[in-house]
Amino acid sequence: MNYSMIVYILGWVLNIEGLFLIPPCIVALIYGEKSGSAYLITMVVCLSLGLLVTRKKPHNTSFFSREGFTSVSLSWIVLSIFGAMPFVISGEIPHFSDALFETISGFTTTGASVLSDVEALSHCSLFWRSFTHWIGGMGVLVFILAVLPLRGGTRVYLMRAESPGPSVSKLVPKLKSTAMILYGIYVTITVLEVIFLLVGGMPLFDALTISFGTAGTGGFAIKNDSMAGYSTYLQGVVTVFMILCGINFNAYFFIISRRFKNAFRMEEVRAYLLIILASIAVIAFNIRDMFPSIFQTVHQAAFQVGSIITTTGYATTDFNIWPEMSKTILIALMFVGACAGSTGGGIKVSRLVILVKTIKKEILGIIHPRSIKKIKMDGHPIEHEVMRSTNVFFIAYMMIFAASVLLLCINEFDFTTNFTAVAATLNNIGPGMELVGPTHNFSIYRGLPKYVLMADMLIGRLEIFPVLVLLSYRTWKR
């Protein structure tokens, strides 16, 4: 294990975090808020620590899979711990464990909050909360890949560990350029959304924070009623952008590089859009009596479906009081998640597509025992290795889910609350049902369950294995 290289990368993570802390400082300056000093202090701490560590590149630059996985999960932990500091220093979230929960929830783009009164926060804290979504959405390591001169192998291992989805897909030969293209698309989507929101008459501060939350598929709102207070147009814009951010970014790259055929051929995106349309239709039919017009019904259904499947977690209405059928569909969508290679969480549509195809293959194997069938996706055969790791992912995911629900039961809340709390954190969504529904928050969890939920958020964002690698004693054994 090459510790010096891991520390070096962590140093860079701190440097980058220090830079990312500049915008909230500016916000504090604009609004003349005292809590800005907390951000300034954290920034100085991050930068001085980071610069100290990254002053010299380590001699031993050997970097392999285990270093990649460990440094990715450690990066996210370091990022969250330092990101929580401003909340504690400024006294806006006095308990460190609460602040950490809030920050992890931010960086992992979950959007689950422990605050009952969001509006009491200062502007700079609101901004930082939403900004962590934006940073975490595309991934800090991806950003580092784009800017840092690292050796080829190092990049590949980092990317493999951080990028969501069953297999790493590069857009262009160089990871550095791939990372730049991804961030380019990401920034463009964010800017477009800000413009559309401004056109609808939303104040700039709201437009920025809402866009950060949408693009990163996070879900921290700056109002206590989440998105319910905004006009239908604004909610519509957010719906569209949430769904756009849940699409595999490769599709955008194909469109930019005018390979429309490839973009259209992406089975995952088609399945994703199909699931969305079907869910909207069913839910709209189910809740048809709750809203005055068909338009309103479809609009509400679409917003909630888009918000849940992309794992964003904004809400325009309390879907906790919806009929059971709609609620069940929404909970199912929590697990489906967005596309691989997007900013969303969950199991990912592509994994489900692969799993369904494996089942089909298994059935075929029973009917025709000698048959040989290659499973294909987007016209390419799926390698056995990918299928195997998808299956293992699914098993590990289910086990972690079950274990988390078991651990949460010490709180003696009802089953739906615990079940959806884990679903909402492990899938990086935000609100669950019942006591953690859209009008409630996660402050009901104290002690161990809170840490379990924090771990679930990280496990969900990093797609299980980086965290498990970090916890495996073999990683640290010489």
Partner: protein, 453 residues
């Protein structure tokens, strides 16, 4: 640059590693997905599983934006087909590895007709390298130009040499051979000398000449080149074939020891002047019987690395001048280096190096009219090859009338295969290739050799 490498064997992997290090954008194609996975997790490259000669696969690899395609699969025909299709699909430069000696006679035809930029025969390349080692066992650095017709040789002027104290203009007439000193390094300082420059002991000279003239020159000035006269080769494979051809042409006496009777007969048919021994080269009796002590050089070219290494270790203290060992596997070069074998030849390295130098030259010449670019004298001097286009202003003007830049020399003109070491009365003609040696970097065009006005 955008580069596609088809075939991820040893050479493909070595190329990927090196080119990746040099910050090129690499896409690798191989039909074995396990190999593609392995290479794309170790290096920052895009891996595509598929047939490199398929149009669709190439399109997927973005052939239209590609600058160079390198085909190094195991099959010659596949490599050639890849290049042809890539050329048609993307109009990029193409490099193919072609091993079969059958094609060797036809390389020029294939290259021209299929529009392939570079064809590399690893066995031929390795044999050229070995022949060079045997020709000048002393430390003389050689770069070849104009497809091997001209060489730039760098050597140190030894103490008490006949050269010391002579001015450069005296050299040609004095030693009656056509050559030109094109760069001198004295006490760490590098310059392109004029005719009045006087040579001193310890100068590092770079001179340009044909291989023939170079040999004569070294003979005349009494630099002991230690040229090998008798060579013993173990193993009668492809490299042996090419090597024997060259060594015989240089007038050396060649003895080949080969196990396979039929191959012996083939070789004896091909090279009547060589001595072909049917026997086991790893049997020391056979070696003593064939007077290993009387050979100047000992070259081990069997297919088995271990056998080559053991044989060379055995021969080290018995052979007079040179022991050359061929090693196929490149993974353990550090270990092999520590054995202190005299010279070790890695055919895979040589192939990779040739391709790399072509890629580097292409990169240097992007957007310019430079045909090839070489760096000599520890990369401090550039030797550039230009083709004279009909539109050039200075055609048919004698060189003495041209106002050339400082530290620049027109070193050689290749006129339809005839090598001219130019004097003041020579001039450029359409279709010539011209080699210019200079310490000024960044020349883009033959017009750039003139002084700025």
């Amino acid at each position: 640059m955008q580069i596609i490498i088809v075939g991820c064997g040893k050479v493909g992997t070595a190329l990927t590693a090196q080119l990746c290090n040099e910050q090129h954008n690499i896409t690798v194609i191989d039909s074995d997905s396990a190999v593609v996975n392995a290479i794309s997790t170790t290096y920052d490259v895009l891996g595509i599983t598929g047939n490199g000669s398929s149009y669709n696969t190439l399109i997927e690899a973005d052939i239209e934006q590609t600058d160079i395609l390198i085909a190094v699969t195991t099959s010659d025909e596949m490599n050639l087909l890849c290049c042809v299709i890539a050329k048609k699909a993307g109009n990029c430069k193409t490099i193919a590895r072609v091993r079969n000696p059958v094609f060797n006679q036809e390389l020029d035809f294939i290259r021209k007709e299929l529009a392939i930029s570079l064809i590399i025969n690893p066995e031929l390349a390795a044999s050229v390298e070995i022949a060079r080692l045997l020709r000048f066992p002393n430390a003389i650095e050689i770069d070849t130009f104009a497809k091997g017709r001209v060489e730039i040789l760098s050597f140190k002027v030894p103490e008490n040499s006949a050269l010391a104290g002579l001015a450069l203009w005296e050299l040609s007439s004095r030693f009656r051979c056509d050559m030109l000193v094109c760069a001198v390094e004295r006490a760490g300082e590098l310059l392109i000398p004029s005719g009045n420059y006087t040579i001193e002991e310890g100068d590092m000279l770079s001179m340009i000449a044909t291989p023939q003239n170079a040999n004569n020159f070294f003979k005349h000035i009494g630099i002991h080149t230690n040229q090998v006269k008798t060579v013993m080769i173990i193993g009668g494979g492809g490299i042996t074939y090419y090597l024997t051809q060259q060594l015989l042409a240089m007038g050396m006496s060649v003895k080949i020891i080969e196990k396979n009777k039929e191959r012996c007969e083939e070789l004896s048919d091909l090279f009547p002047r060589a001595t072909i021994i049917h026997g086991d080269g790893s049997d020391s009796n056979v070696l003593f019987e064939e007077q290993i002590e009387d050979s100047d050089a000992f070259v081990t070219l069997t297919d088995i690395d271990e056998e080559n290494i053991m044989l060379s270790l055995f021969a080290m203290d018995k052979v007079r001048t040179k022991v050359v060992t061929k090693v196929n596997r490149v993974n353990f070069s550090a270990v092999i280096h520590s054995l202190n074998l005299d010279s070790v030849i890695y055919p895979k390295h040589i192939t990779a190096e040739l391709i790399l130098s072509y890629v580097r030259a292409t990169q240097n010449s992007i957007g310019s009219n430079v045909e090839t670019l070489y760096k000599i004298m520890d990369e401090k001097v550039e030797a550039l090859e230009f083709i004279i286009q009909p539109t050039l202003r200075i055609i048919n003007t004698p060189l003495r009338q041209l106002q050339l830049k400082e530290n620049l020399l027109v070193a050689c003109i290749n006129r339809k295969g005839r090598i001219i070491i130019p004097g003041g009365d020579d001039c450029f003609m359409i279709g010539d290739t011209v080699i210019v040696v200079t310490t000024v970097s960044g020349l883009q065009d033959i017009n750039d050799i003139l002084k700025d006005r």
